[in-house]
């Protein structure tokens, strides 16, 4: 089975600041990483490959990302974690893409790779939208299961998965080809292997452009994006309030006073 994992390179911290003079994000000195949720997606893909191998089904795991050439680093890291190969969608035409245009490009990559199963993290920690995975399924006409927390059964035609909702789990059966977006509960990612590191070093990462994917330039990047960022600003800062010290009885009494003002106790 051909498995594809979509990953995003994001800043290592979300504790980003806005430069008060230039009113733009301070990016200097901020290291990047693979979006944490995507690591669970990658791990699950590798586990599915291993699981299918036990039943005699050969699979491969390809990581796919869209972004500037620097994303190469994230893709190589994914190979150290068990991916077989990687493809980068990189083109100046992709710059400034919102979730619509991003899922448009990724869907084209997925289609070209003839993916039968696609994993994404439930959302990225920078944009926090959770929209790209579902968007891909419309462009590529794949089935969708979001917030997947467990894969009960899987073969090349279908899978039975658990979805983590607000008030419980939904068990559903999904036909391939499909996109699964995963939550943290699904697994515990492995650490890089020595073999993976060697492989990553020598891997040739293919770069595909809008033209090589046969995409409509009017639907790519900023031009193809229906949303526009009007402005960014710092949220009102929460200031710490009063602080008490003392023995437990006094602290509890003080806390009870505060609670009584707010809730029925």
């Amino acid at each position: 089975m051909k498995i594809v994992v979509c990953i995003k390179q994001v800043p290592q911290t979300t504790n980003v600041k806005i430069d008060p003079v230039t009113n733009t994000l301070v990016r200097q000195g901020v290291e990047s990483q693979i979006n944490p949720f995507d690591l669970y997606a990658l791990e699950e893909a590798v586990r599915v490959k291993e699981r299918l191998a036990e039943t005699g089904i050969e699979s491969s795991v390809t990581v796919l990302s869209m972004g500037p050439p620097q994303v190469d680093e994230a893709l190589r890291e994914a190979i150290t974690l068990g991916a077989d190969d990687a493809v980068l969608l990189s083109d100046r035409a992709f710059a400034g893409a919102d979730t619509w245009a991003t899922s448009y490009a990724l869907a084209a990559g997925i289609t070209k790779l003839e993916a039968e199963l696609v994993f994404c993290g439930m959302q990225a920690i920078d944009g926090d939208t959770a929209q790209t995975g579902p968007g891909i399924t419309v462009h590529a006409e794949y089935a969708l299961a979001t917030y997947v927390s467990k894969i009960d059964e899987i073969d090349v035609k279908r899978a039975r998965v658990h979805r983590l909702l607000e008030d419980g789990y939904e068990v559903c059966e999904v036909q391939m080809p499909a996109v699964f977006t995963v939550v943290k509960e699904i697994n515990e990612p492995r650490t890089p292997s020595l073999r993976g590191k060697m492989k990553a070093k020598n891997a040739k990462i293919e770069v595909w452009t809008a033209e090589s994917l046969g995409l409509d330039p009017d639907k790519c990047g900023l031009k193809g994006s229906p949303t526009q960022v009007m402005k960014i600003f710092s949220p009102e800062h929460r200031a710490g309030g009063e602080k008490w010290d003392g023995d437990a009885t006094d602290l509890a009494a003080k806390m009870l006073d505060i609670l009584r003002e707010r809730v029925t106790v």
Binding site: G96, P134, A252
Partner: protein, 396 residues
């Protein structure tokens, strides 16, 4: 798409050079110059320039007449005949927007056996209720739900569509917005109509709440947004059902699905789920061991709240993942958040710092949780909480 420097306006202050994340801007004498091959059109230099000397031009225009889109829709998310908690909040927000825009407000419900629900919704301050009733819509499934709402949008042409930023709302509207080719803004905490342009100004947190962004959708319709639960003011239903109920005739062809729901397993470990809870008692590493979460459960029961946990507590196996608050868990917005033995890592704050009121108990007076807490208590959580429980019970 093109970017250029207006030489008359550029004063050579270099603000753009400092702002550019890709080092595409340099100075040629006193004039900023942009290396187009390095530029990603991120707009940093444009907002950095106080003299409006840099412009990005996007050749974009509406593909159709946008004035034919009228009215505001709220997605009436429901399960088993009960609307989701966020729906009265969306109606509250939608009512204000509709009054400002001078248009109708409608609630759209997809599901099965909806008559009773429709009558209840008609009591809210709305103009219309659209009911799309079909057995195959009983629970949310991506394809039929997506196709149905997309088709309704094409038919009735609403100007704005709002849904809750719930697991269903987020998955569902993403597909709809993609299909109708329009913009969708996730997890909004602010919605306003622009006084001059009549556009929907959608404000949302990004980077775990460290940055706020205001998003517009100028060239396509509808303008779509998912809205964070517990942020907007909910409205109550009235006594009389005033809204017009419209039953849409279902189309069988839209109902096929590659996903079949086998069963729903309710989470019985908690009476209230943390996303819907008004009060959350949350525990971290300072709880010491899993057994100690029992005292938090007792406190939560007394207050009518739910129990949350930090990543440290979940990763140690003390609490199940659905209770995790923070960047890789859930984002919550309760009226009261009581952080017990939680130090307050940035990743945790991302999930709870928009709570109305935060109380923190921690042994370390310098724990970062105190920087966001309205009321801080420096002490041992394992002494303070049992004492608090004792005092609450004594006064009952």
């Amino acid at each position: 798409m093109s970017i250029r420097v207006i030489s008359d306006k550029c004063v050579g202050c270099k603000a753009c050079v400092r702002a550019c994340p890709t080092a595409a801007v340099s100075m040629e004498g006193k004039l900023a110059t942009i290396a187009v091959e390095k530029c990603t059109y991120c707009g940093s230099c444009v907002s950095a320039c106080k003299f409006k000397a840099i412009v990005i031009e996007i050749e974009k225009q509406a593909r159709e007449d946008l004035s034919q889109y009228k009215g505001i829709w709220v997605f009436g998310e429901q399960a088993e005949g009960k609307v989701a908690g966020v729906v009265p909040e969306l109606i509250g927000a939608g009512r204000k927007l509709a009054d400002q825009r001078g248009c109708e407000l409608a609630v759209v419900v997809l599901g099965h056996d909806l008559d009773k629900l429709g009558d209840e919704l008609a009591k809210y301050p709305i103009d219309k209720v659209y009911l799309y009733d079909h057995p195959k819509l009983e629970r949310y499934r991506p394809e039929p739900y997506g196709r149905v709402l997309a088709q309704m949008i094409r038919t009735y042409k609403p100007e704005i569509v709002l849904a809750g930023a719930t697991t269903t709302g987020r998955s569902f509207l993403s597909r709809v917005a993609t299909e109708v080719y329009t913009g969708l803004t996730a997890d909004c905490t602010g919605l306003e109509i622009g006084a001059d342009d009549g556009l929907l100004y959608q404000t949302r947190p990004a980077f775990g709440g460290n940055i706020m962004a205001t998003i517009l959708c100028p060239y396509t319709r509808p303008q779509m947004a998912t809205v964070r639960h517990k942020v907007m003011q909910a409205v109550d239903p009235g006594e009389v059902a005033n809204a017009e109920i419209i039953k849409v005739t279902p189309v069988e062809q839209l109902m096929s699905s590659k996903v079949d729901i086998i069963e729903f397993i309710a989470d019985l470990t908690s009476k209230v789920n943390i996303v819907d809870a008004d009060i959350i008692v949350s525990g971290g590493r300072g709880m010491g061991k899993p057994e100690n979460f029992a005292i938090l459960e007792e406190l939560a029961d007394l207050l009518g709240g739910a129990v949350g946990a930090s990543r440290a507590a979940v990763d140690s196996g003390w609490m199940p993942y659905p209770h995790q608050v923070g960047q890789t868990g859930k984002t919550v917005c309760p009226k009261l958040y009581i952080a017990c033995g939680i130090s307050g890592a940035v990743q945790h704050l991302a999930g709870m710092q928009s709570s109305d009121c935060i109380i923190a108990i921690n042994r370390d007076p310098h724990a970062p949780i105190f920087d966001v807490a309205d009321f801080g208590f420096v002490g041992d959580v394992l002494e303070v909480v049992p004492e608090l429980i004792k005092q609450i019970k004594a006064k009952k």
